[in-house]
Amino acid sequence: MAKLYPDLCIGVTGLNANDNPGPGIAVIRALKEGLGNDVKIIGLAYESLEPGIYMNHLVDKTYQIPYPTAGIAALTERLAHIHDKEKLTLIIPNFDAELHNFIKIAPQLQQMGIRTCLPSLAQLQVRDKTNLYQFGKENNFYVPADHKLFSTSDLEKATDELSFPLVIKGKFYEAYIAYTMDVALKAFHQLGTAWGYPVIAQQHIKGTEINIAALGDGRGQNMSIVPMRKLYITDKGKAWAGVTIEDDALINLANDFAKATNWRGGYELEIMRDADGKLFILEINPRFPAWIYLAAAAGQNQPLALVKMALGEDVLPFTDYETGKLFIRHSWDQVVNIADFQKMSAFGEL
């Protein structure tokens, strides 16, 4: 039988399937389910211990790429080298911290023949943690009040105004709920060192945690929206189990977001529903979430739709999904030959 997409080769980042997983493996799983053996998956990894590198049933080959701090020239050069060998059709970046660089070099990638389906830099900025409150204010979304923290004196001001408990958040990742100044200070220093400044202090909202995975078409519409209620939450605040739910208010919220931003590509709204039913946006992640395979399992394969969009196909918006579909994450000790690890570490490819 002829292949639907001949020579389709997709580069995917976010292979760190650990306790704070990157979305890469879930994205690949959805792609494999939608495309079968029609697709070759090239893993793009930052470190030799990212578990996805060694998942041969999902990833055909992996190349190490430079950290975002190395800049766009280093990234472009590395991707050109990989493209030369693999003939990449498309790249799906899955880390917040790398998106800026990928968006910047998207035109050069396009010239090389590598497609992407990404938001613009302006769209990326507008939902940034440091701009989220303002964005909410301007577009009538409930967003918890916050303070940007550059120094410990900023933290004192934040606690005076927002009072405890507070959520102390890293610029890109991680968050801690602080009930005392000691804990808040520790989190401030820890997150500032790990992810840079500002650290964000956000008002703590009590309620039910819901996430929405969606795919924007870049013209103010969503191609897909799947809400998920977190059922089991790890100490890092990550969903370890969740269930798809149906609620028009959540669908409307995602549609309002797409309309307000003209978002292009995958994104995730992290929502807290308070006791009055108000939907607070805690964060907006500019890429697919790590639980994105649940959306595919519930009937809306967002990574596959993104690939079709990137290939210029006319994609119809999904209209239905199965509610009551659960995911329950688990950990798995993958056994790897030292030779493979050595190869990845020494040569940056496997």
Partner: protein, 82 residues
């Protein structure tokens, strides 16, 4: 009339799932029987009458238990609001 939300999923073994919130509950056989009757649109009076015929319980006790049951359903967000 007290009505159970239309989209609430129930099973014969008493499992109840609210797809709007993601909440799930485990009920006993009695709970699933009453929920099924409510989902089928039976009136409270009719359901209570069936229970009185089927089980050894006084009307007063049943009324008290029924009130408690409705409070639980409300708390679990399983009833239509209007």
């Amino acid at each position: 009339m007290i009505r159970i939300k239309k989209n609430i999923a129930t099973s014969e073994n008493g499992f109840i799932f609210n797809p709007a919130t993601g909440d799930s509950f485990s009920g006993n056989g009695m709970a699933s029987e009453i929920l099924l009757a409510m989902k089928n649109g039976q009136q409270d009076v009719q359901i209570k009458q069936d229970i009185l015929l089927k089980y050894e319980v006084s009307a007063e006790q049943l009324d008290r238990d029924w009130e408690d049951w409705i409070v639980q359903l409300k708390e679990a967000n399983l009833l239509e609001t209007e």
